[in-house]
Structures are given as C-alpha cells and as structure tokens.
Amino acid sequence: MTEPVLSVRNLKVEFPTRRGRLTAIDDISFDLMPGEVLGVVGESGAGKSITGTAIIGLIEPPGRIAGGEILLKGRRIDNLPPDAMRKIRGKRIGMVFQDPLTSLNPLYRIGDQLIETVQTHTDLSAAAARNRALALLTEVGIPAPASRIDNYPHQFSGGMRQRVVLALALAAEPELVIADEPTTALDVSVQAQIIALIKRLCRQHGAAVMLITHDMGVIAETADRVAVMYAGRIVEIGPVRDVVKQPHHPYTKGLMGSIPTIATESDRLLQIPGSMPRLTAIPKGCAFHPRCPARFAPCDQVRPELAGRDRSQVACWLYHDVPAPAELQP
C-alpha cells in the first residue's frame, strides 16, 4: 500500500478566549493519498479552514495545536521549528485562499510575487525565475503572459486573479494543495473553470488536494473522497460516490437533501433546521443531537466516535453498538 501524503492523527486545535477555552478542532483524523482529491464540507464555523491552517502551521497565537499530530509523507510536521515549517509551506504544501481579490498584494506586480516565491524555494537566477513565472502563468491559462507578467493584481479580473493565485500556490511543485473555498468569491460563470483547472493541474503535477467548499455539487464532480465536518469534528468520511449517494449520518443526509448545482449558487447548507452550536457550548453527547431528526437514547449522553463501515466511516449511534443502558444516566 502506498504511503499517504498527509496523515492527520487526532488533531486538536484550541483558542483561549475570554469565555474559556474554545476547541475549534476536536480530535480529527484522516489520510490523504497521493493524487487524491479530498473534499471537506460543513457549515460555516465547522472548522474547515482551521484544519487547513493547522496543516500549514499558520494557526495564529494564542490559538494552538493542543494535541495530535500531522504527518507529511510519514514525517511529523506539526512540531517543526518555525523556519523548517516555513520551508515546507509553498514548497511541499501549497495553499489557495477563498478570495483572489485580497490574496495578492496590490502593490506588487504579479510577476514579482511569482518570482519572489520561486526564488524562495529554488536556487534559480532572477532570469530563470522569470521564465518559470511565465511558464506558470501559461500553465494556469493567462493569455499572453509575457505582456501580463508586469501588471498589478487590480488589472486582472477575479477569475484571472485566482489563476494567478493558483500559479503561486503551485510555483514550487507542492505534493499537497489545500484549496480553501477557492471559488466562493468568484463569479458563478468562472467557478467551474477554476475548479476544473485546479483538478487538472493537480493531476498533472501529481499533487493531492484538500478542497474545502460549501458546494456539494463541486464535491460530487471533483472529489474522490469527502469529509463532512460538524462543530470541529468529522462526522462522516468516505468515497464521494458512497457519501453522496448513500449518506449515513443524519447531518450528511440533510446536506445531500438539496445539492445546489454550480448554477444555483450554494445556499450555504441552511436546509437543516436550527444552527450549529457555539464552540464554547457544545452539547453533551453527539454535537448534532439537538437538530437531529433521528436522535434516540444515547445521543444526548455519549459522544459517538468515527468508526468504520467498509470504505466509509461515520460517527453516529444509528450505526454503532449502542452503549449499555447502565452507562447512560437517566
């Protein structure tokens, strides 16, 4: 069996706040195989971005990784000294953020931002780095890159800017690309193009992708596997075909209830009544139980763990052995 590019083991991320410690990520684990596209979905505040941020080691203090480990090709990276981690960022893990309009420094020509990134991670001369930048721009589909390379970000449209951002993320041929809602801020008409581009480029470069999105339609079309997050935990993970066609967790079922197509603009998964609990006030038992149509005895008492059902795993008492009544308090 091949080694996973990325292994997240029991990851826990905490933020100290005035109202006590907030656990944004609570014990999540998953693997990402080379070349695989893992979709990550879940409501706003579920912890998708924080997971990505933790992987590239950019959680802002006082937030911190409070437990677990992150392995890149079998090597732990969550406890590396800052400069060693910096060398991994961009070089081995590329990141694309939601908003191409604000991801590029408005005062730097895009060529300078590209050359700077290339030169940070390679020994290329300035001229060679510029050629590399031109090649990258060509690759992401910027027409006439030679005449565009010295333009400033505001001279590009949103979709073009996201292509530049993608070129920047891929500049050093990373093994893993984390794309955090790469199309949410874009015009609907270019969303599909960008998603297709990400998928094509990552396949060509052999990079694995962690694709964070609200859009189940995008997941269904793009991802190999999907992880569904709720209140800082993964509630269901498995191959896209299984999870989309036969969701098990009641939350996932709710999400799949109305897959917004790319054309109808995601409606932010609000079809499930109620809202996600605040992370400082996560209910006992299963965090989803107050909203769950199928809840029963153990749900408000004991938290279900993510456990296997062939290729997928789900954290729900409907599919596990229910704990003995003695363990449940009345």
Partner: protein
C-alpha cells in the same frame, strides 16, 4: 494622469484664494492701515492723500484683486514695525524655519518608523511597551514644556548644547544655512527634538496600527502560506503597504510642523518665521501676519499636492483610477 494633476492644481488654487481672502480681510479691516503707518501728528489731508495713493478708496473687489496680484508677485507690502519690505524679512527668516522643520520631520520619521515597526512586530516585548508608554508622554506633554525640560537638562545642567539661537550660519546664495557649521548643528538638536517629538510619537503609533492592520490581511497570510521568509513578509509586503498611508500623513504633517514651529521658535528664540509672526501679532504688524498666513497656506497646499503625487507613484491602483478619471 494629467487630468488628475490639473484637478488637484485647481483645488489648490481655490484653497489659496480662500486664504487670500482671509488675509486680505485681516489686512483691510483689522484696524486702519493708515493709522498703523503714520504718526499722530500727520494731518487729515496727508492721511487722505495716502489713502488715495494706496488705493484704499477703491471698491473692495478691486482692492482684493490688487492684493492678490501683489501677492502673486511676492509683494506683501512694508512691515509696520521694521519699515522694510515684508518679502525681505521673510526671506531672512525662511531658511531658519525650514531647516528646523525639515530636520524635525526627518528626525521624527527616522525614529518613528522603526519604532512603529518594532512595536507592531514585537507586540509583547518590554521595549515595545516602553515605547508605547513614552509615546503617551510625548503626546500629552505640551511642546513648550518639553522644550523647557530639554533646555534644563542639556543646556543648564549638562551644558552640552546651546539653549537659544541658531549658532553660526553660512550664506549659500539667498539661503542662510546652519547645517554646515558645528555650532549651527548643535543649536538645531534641542529645537528639532522638541518640535519633532510629537510627530515622532504620532508616526510611531500610526506605523504600528497600520502595520498591525496589514499583518492581518489576506495577502500577508498568503505570503506566509507561500513560505516567504519573515523578512520578506514583514519588510517587503507588510512595510510597503504600511508606508502608503504613512507617507500621506507624515507628508501632511510637514505643514503642521511648520505651523507648530511658532511655539518651538519662541522657546528657543529661534530666528525663524514663527517668532517673527508672534512679534507681528503683538505689534499688529498686519502685512507680516497676512504674508505669513499666505505662506503657510501655500506650503500646506504644496505639500498636499506633492503627497498626492507621491501617493500615485506608490500605489498603482490610484494611477489607473486617475488615468480613467
């Protein structure tokens, strides 16, 4: 770009016209110019003749236009106190004030910017806390008190720096400079610290808050996510973006440094325009007052214009918008 410059020039002209109106009103209506010029023994006929000769009987609009016409030719009239052309008096004092203001501005930026950057990057270091506390003191102490404290410490107690005057100066064409002699430089130290301290704290706080803001932006986050070194992120991306508003404010402050110089010049008996203006106010020397007003307004407007143009050079987005406009 050209349209942008022309628009700015028109605005500047408008501002100057308004200031000229105020200066003219001062000139024309605060006291009777004739009374200020002549002795008590001058006869009524002589006064009337003088009034006619000076054009004070013409319609106000004509007088205003004449005032502007004169001002444009740098003819600000004759000082009541010194009986000399105001232009000559200003030309004598202008270099002293400008040197003081520019040295203060440089001092405030050379210290304020690095301190601001340091306090933004090392938010929890004790030195940052010290800087911030000291800057509070700098902002809340009045200028004259700082001046007097400095004089007490360095001139009276330690006796290392002069407490008043400009020291020796060297004449370069029309410009009397104190920057080329040792005593001139020594004399500049205390006044420019006094004048620049407030600006320095202001710039430090401005740089700090702008930098903290910039450090939170997505492009800084993305720069970090690309693995750029801290140096490239902090002193390349973050600092460059921080400097855009800082240049504006610091530039605009040059105008107020010149205006504030009045107090510092008084404390240090600095032979500049501020001191001259204060004397003029005490003696109701209206030609000097109105000329000073016009000059300071002119400097403000010019600085403003230069800052706007600099802004265009630094920020490519404005370059485009301006071209479109």
């Amino acid at each position: 770009m050209l349209a942008f410059i022309i628009r700015r020039l028109l605005q500047a002209t408008l501002v100057m016209a308004v200031v000229a109106l105020i200066a003219f009103t001062l000139f024309r209506f605060v006291g009777d110019p004739i009374n200020q010029m002549v002795g008590i023994e001058t006869s009524l006929e002589e006064r009337a003749a003088l009034r006619e000769a000076l054009g004070l009987n013409d319609p106000v609009a004509v007088q205003f236009l004449r005032f502007i016409w004169n001002a444009v030719q740098l003819n600000f009239g004759i000082s009541y106190q010194f009986k000399k052309p105001v232009l000559d008096l200003i030309a004598e004092r202008f270099p002293a004030t400008m040197e003081l203001a520019i040295v203060s501005a440089i001092f405030s930026m050379l210290l304020g910017i690095p301190m601001g950057v340091y306090t933004a990057l090392r938010r929890d270091a004790w030195l940052s806390k010290l800087f911030l506390t000291l800057s509070l003191v700098g902002i809340s102490l009045p200028t004259f008190l700082i001046g007097i404290l400095l004089i007490f410490l360095f001139a009276v107690t330690l006796g290392v720096l002069p407490s008043f005057g400009r020291g020796d100066t060297v004449r370069l064409g029309l410009w009397d400079t104190g920057l080329l002699t040792w005593s001139g430089l020594k004399a500049l130290v205390l006044p420019s610290i006094t004048l620049g301290l407030f600006q320095m704290t202001l710039i430090m706080r401005l740089v700090r808050s702008e930098m903290l803001e910039v450090l939170r932006t997505d492009y800084v986050k993305f720069a970090r996510a690309r693995g750029l070194t801290n140096r490239a992120v902090h002193f390349g991306h973050a600092l460059k973006n921080t400097m855009v508003p800082v240049i504006t404010i610091a530039g605009l402050q040059l105008g107020s440094i010149i205006a504030f110089a009045i107090i510092t010049e008084t404390v240090f008996q600095w032979p500049g325009m501020g001191l001259m203006f204060l004397r003029a106010v005490q003696n109701v020397d209206i030609p000097i007052m109105s000329a000073y007003l016009l000059l300071v307004a002119f400097i403000f407007v010019t600085v403003n214009l230069i800052v706007d143009l600099l802004y265009v050079v630094v920020d490519p987005r404005i370059r485009i918008d301006a071209r479109g406009a």
